[in-house]
Assembly symmetry: C2
Homo-oligomer: 340 residues x 2
DNA sequence: CATCATCTCTGCATCGTTGCAAAGGACGGG
DNA sequence: CCCGTCCTTTGCAACGATGCAGAGATGATG
């Protein structure tokens, strides 16, 4: 039942515990004769190191935690995939937790009884926790923030350049000749910094093109979910003068918006062009397929993981603010042509 | 830098280590006077229990691992969400790993140097590992299998009734008056047991309705991905006599199939009706929205977690074969009416 | 032949926590 | 006034592994 320990193996092989440990780890040279004997005992007893004990002794767990609002949001699932892959190349495994955008749950993570102490570090994609809280609560555990929020300079941070990304998406629509361009997803309050950056980029693009910003066309949504995109689009269609294009702050909003358009019999992109952000796989196969600004998720994951490991081993003390690349993927929802 | 330990707190409060431990755990009564003094010291030093040490001592880690082929497949992401939630109600956290359907990676999980020993148990959704291998390799670590494969009676197992689910999906199509019904997703080889069950249900439905099974209409796919569904549908459209309905073995295949149909100008459901399996959120917002057989993922997760915990504490020794409920969600891809 | 360097191998202490058993003090009953 | 009981508090050992320093054997060197 219980797994065998170094002691069991040592007894069986007639050597000291320490020698067995040396054979297992291979760090210290062991004579051929003993090695063979110990190896045999290891095999016979099917020894597996107790990693909890090893971690205690070594002071490291080899685990990092990735905390996202919702795992069933495709962007986070795809990001999680990349984080797991990136961590593996460094010999780390990833514990996943979700907060459901619940501030209390996020706070709990940093509190006294949190499991966070079990991990060497934390990758956190905060939704509703504020910068101050985070600063106050984060004791000792190395943290790297992903995507959301900015927290100017207090924390390591990895994200795309949201202003530029939003501007490019909007410029793409302008380049198609659209003039009445809506935006779905603004969040004009303290925890909506990412959304606000995208609004900034959207406005920049309009202003540079000499277009006026119509506040009626900026529809806020508390979260980035399909159904909220659908509702926002209903509001836009109800306007006396509906838009001829929509920039959605993420792909789920865009897909919700297209859902509403399909029901209403509005043609995409002929009547209204749609562009999203996130580059999720779902958008490649939607009807029509979705034009999107795709962050390089693998790059985000790699940067985040290696930054975090840098903090853990003390080689990266000063908070960095890394920008990951992104690119515009033009598909049917703006271009129309059914090619992929 | 380094967190404070029970010893530090004990020294500061002028009591024994054990008393501090008692205050922290609250299991043994402590006098008010000492409790106050210790609590003050705890707060001042911002003590956080070292969970690695605690786990070593208690012989439990409070962690289970969930291993899925791919986290960016929506079904697994949605399932993972439920598993994390279910585990939390039992005080457990979940480590997530993905195997990319790589048999070696799955095998590695059960091998000598695996991290699996760090977890109290394993929820495994195997893709390419065989029953024998699993039986041979799984030593000691409690395992519950999810969804895929059957492994008659050797392991705890939780899944929907695949035969019934497939039969109901097919019967739904038959009920709509369709007579030439294709199937996408068969896997006629040892690791494709789930797919084979769905094929069985499909055939049962046809036979009961007195329809003949046309082997040309059963298109196998090595995996359940969107692009494979798209390719399979191309093959079906190229037939001299294309189908008037398709039963896809999961929603991603169905979405890929609909993608092909949209490009080819074939109307769904008028020309070809489509039904999938998995009930992923993506299908609610696709155009047209997707009819699907939705497993109760929360129920699967709850059952799997509580079964696993039962194995861990020794109260559930005999392998069980739990069937989770499922239900048919009829949407536009078969019914047509644009209501939801 | 004595001495020293080298190479294996070992025992002990330790990581931070909790189980166990017993010490110490307070208290009530006979 | 003494003894037994109960309650709080404590020290020791242990979970299973690794770091360290040193023991013993072997070979090289003067």
């Amino acid at each position: 039942m219980a797994g065998s320990t170094l002691r069991d193996v040592a007894r069986r092989a007639g050597v000291s515990i320490r020698t067995v440990s040396n054979v297992v780890n291979g760090s210290v040279p062991v004579s051929d004769e003993l090695r063979v004997r110990v190896q045999a005992a290891l095999d016979e007893l099917d020894y597996r190191p107790n990693l909890v004990a090893r971690n205690l002794r070594r002071g490291r767990s080899g685990m990092i935690a990735l905390v996202v609002p919702e795992l069933d949001v495709p962007y986070f699932a795809e990001l999680a995939r990349e984080v797991i892959t990136a961590a593996r190349t460094h010999g780390y495994v990833v514990m996943l937790d979700q907060t459901d955008g619940d501030g209390d749950r996020e706070r709990e993570l940093l509190g006294r009884e949190s499991r966070a102490t079990m991990f060497d570090g934390l990758l956190l994609s905060p939704l509703s926790i504020s910068a101050d809280e985070l600063r106050r609560r984060t004791n000792k555990v190395p943290v790297v923030l992903l995507g959301e929020h900015i927290f100017n300079g207090s924390f390591h941070h990895v994200a795309i350049d949201n202003i530029v990304a939003a501007r490019e998406a909007t410029e793409h629509l302008i380049g198609l000749g659209r003039r009445r361009i809506a935006a779905i997803g603004d969040q004009p309050y303290s925890t909506g910094e990412t959304a606000q950056l995208r609004t900034t980029g959207y406005r920049q693009a309009l202003e540079r093109a000499g277009l006026t910003v119509d506040r009626e066309l900026i529809v806020p949504t508390p979260r980035f979910h399909r159904h909220l995109g659908a509702e926002a689009m209903e509001r836009l269609l109800a306007l006396p003068e509906p838009p001829d294009a929509v920039f959605c702050y993420n792909d789920l909003l865009a897909i919700g918006a297209m859902h509403t358009l399909a029901r209403a019999g509005v043609r995409v992109p002929e009547d209204i062009a749609v562009v999203g952000v996130d580059g999720i796989q779902e958008g490649r196969y939607s009807s029509p397929s979705l034009t999107t600004v795709a962050p390089d998720k693998a790059a985000i994951a790699r940067t985040a993981v290696s930054t975090l490991l840098g903090v853990i081993d003390g080689s990266a003390p000063a908070p960095t603010d890394a920008k990951a690349p992104h690119r515009l993927l033009v598909r049917q929802s703006t271009r129309g042509a059914p090619v992929d």
